[in-house]
């Protein structure tokens, strides 16, 4: 167990390091950062000062070292547009993104998990059909379009919910559903097939032979086993939850990190963009690590490995 976790943590660090390297290379490949700060009216003196302060006169590996060093301290330089440290801007935006992520996650679990189980248990019935439709729509409809359609229906036509922004509590409903639907669909499909496999297993047969009731077979013996592949999936696709938040926050003008990233991109605000990418990666890596720990909790074969 300890070795398993240690290995996971090490791998997470390797991932972060690699991502930082990629960001560094890309930021250099994107063009001379001095052009971003200086305009045609700046003097040679300005150039030299900036060159020195950005460390551009040093060899690349040293530049990377400096970049990494300040990144570790949370220092990604000043946002060009906002004129203050990028980290500060990000921290302001974090709560909104967390809120949306959690709400979407909750939606995906509340819809996906029970429907997944029921579609497996009541295979071929009306419930299974409903599950199938939810899954197919979630997998096939583009998130941004789904968002717009929700707005059209519930904000424009019915006027039940606000179409965008983050003023009222009810503002979160539409973006959370738009973002969560895809994961609800994925959870549902995976859980359904995993449940079908488990229900077909020898140990479920033996449990029934012991006289375990149908409900206990489903909720106790099967679900825990069926969650293992679902968790594996969660581990490898958390990245796309972040991706989704980029799009959803744009559609709903939700003032979170995703929207910030798009703004940074549009405004060529490199220091800010770097910081956002690193924070996203950090979020992903942490979430994946949490999933790994959950994994060990659910599956004793890992806990005692």
């Amino acid at each position: 167990m300890q070795r398993y976790l240690l290995r996971r943590i090490l791998l997470a660090l390797v991932t972060l390091l690699a991502v930082s390297l990629i960001i560094f290379v890309m930021s250099r490949a994107a063009g001379d950062p001095r052009h971003v700060y200086l305009d045609d009216y700046s003097t040679q003196e300005d150039w030299d000062r900036l060159t020195a302060s950005l460390g551009l006169d040093k060899p690349y590996y040293q530049q990377y070292g400096i970049f990494l060093g300040s990144a570790l301290k949370g220092d990604f330089g000043e946002s060009i547009k906002e004129g203050r440290p990028s980290m500060e801007v990000i921290i302001e935006r974090l709560p909104a993104t967390f809120q949306l992520g959690l709400a979407a996650f909750a939606f995906s679990v509340i819809v996906g998990v029970p429907l997944g189980i029921l579609s497996a248990v009541k295979r071929g019935t009306f419930l299974d059909m409903v599950g199938k439709i939810v899954a197919l729509v979630g997998q096939s409809a583009p998130v941004f379009w789904l968002g717009l359609m929700l707005v059209f229906l519930f904000a424009v036509r019915l006027d039940w919910l606000p179409p965008y922004g983050r003023q009222e509590i009810s503002s979160i409903v539409l973006p959370a559903v738009a973002l969560g639907w895809f994961y609800a669909a994925a959870n549902l499909r995976l859980l359904r097939s995993a449940m079908l496999n488990v229900l077909d297993s020898e140990y479920v047969k033996l449990a029934r032979a012991k006289g375990v009731s149908n409900n206990a077979v489903i909720w106790k013996h099967s679900l825990r086993n069926a969650l293992i592949p679902v968790l594996t999936f969660a581990g490898i696709t958390l990245g796309s939850l972040v991706t989704g938040s980029l799009v959803v926050e744009t559609v709903f003008a939700w003032p979170g990190l995703g929207q910030l990233a798009i703004q940074a991109l549009a405004g060529n605000d490199y220091p800010l963009l770097q910081a956002v990418v690193i924070v996203f990666t950090l979020m992903y890596v942490t979430a994946a690590l949490l999933v790994d720990i959950m994994y060990a909790y659910i599956d004793p074969r890992i806990r005692y490995a």
């Binding site: 070795r3 240690l6 290995r7 090490l10 791998l11």
Partner: protein
Amino acid sequence: MTTLDARPMADTTNEVLLEAEGLKKYFPVTKGLLISKVTGWIKAVDGVSFQIRAGETLGIVGESGCGKSTTAKMLLQLEDPTEGTIRYQGKEIQNATADERRAYRSSVQAVFQDPWSSLNPRMRVRDLIAEPMVINLNLSRREMQDRVSKLLEDVGLSSYHANLYPHEFSGGQRQRLAIARALSVEPQVIVLDEPVSALDVSIRAQIMNLLRDLQQEYNVSYLLIAHHLATVRYMCDWVAVMYLGQIVEFGPTRELFDNASHPYTKALMNAALPSHPDIEQEEMILTGEVPSPLNPPEGCRFHPRCPFVIDQCSTVVPQVRELAPGHLVSCHLY
């Protein structure tokens, strides 16, 4: 070398085809987070010597984990021995030339236990059977087809089966296909790794009889790996009993079954199921399970489970005794 050397000194005049001497296979046990390091060795096979002679069948019996399948894999060059030599017609194969190696490849073939996994489901029977010939022999299409037809008939199928795919056959029929494939390059030795244990009872006799008939017809030698003693008795001329990577008893089949001497062999025989309810079996049930080959017991490896254990068993490796011509046993009791 104190391990039992199962190479018959006795009365056979048949030519020695394949010989293993002091074969060992150790698998590393690794530990480490990102970069692994070796912390121990699993001694799967630990000093095994035997011979396979022309037209004869040698059986290796033992329970799972005794190293019998690893031994077979080394003969088939699927695993490299950690130590020891394999000689084919007197020549060491480890440092043979490419040509000699190729000759060895086509002289030693194999049939495995699971007829569902040993035939590539995406190849037609014709191509499956011909594959060893395509690789090793230089035959025309026509010759190849004729041989496939003959092989199919030899194993009790018909030439029209050549166009089908493996999934269209039952387990027994698939095992026949596997045998036909092994025979296609007219090998001298076929390694049979549990060839009937995955089959239905009524099919087993078919396959065993077929193997015996083909041995006559093709004058091929068999190395039979099995856990079922009665099968070994029916099929083999010589039998070696393995325990924890070593041969503990060896002899001509009849002699060995009638006068089983090593306590482990005796225990195996007593544990085997009787063929009639009136057969009284000695009550000799081993306690415990096979110890890990990672740290095999000192002295005689069987001593922790042996009902006849004496003091020296736990410290001294037993000497090998010849009880009858060709009947060798490695035990302190003799």
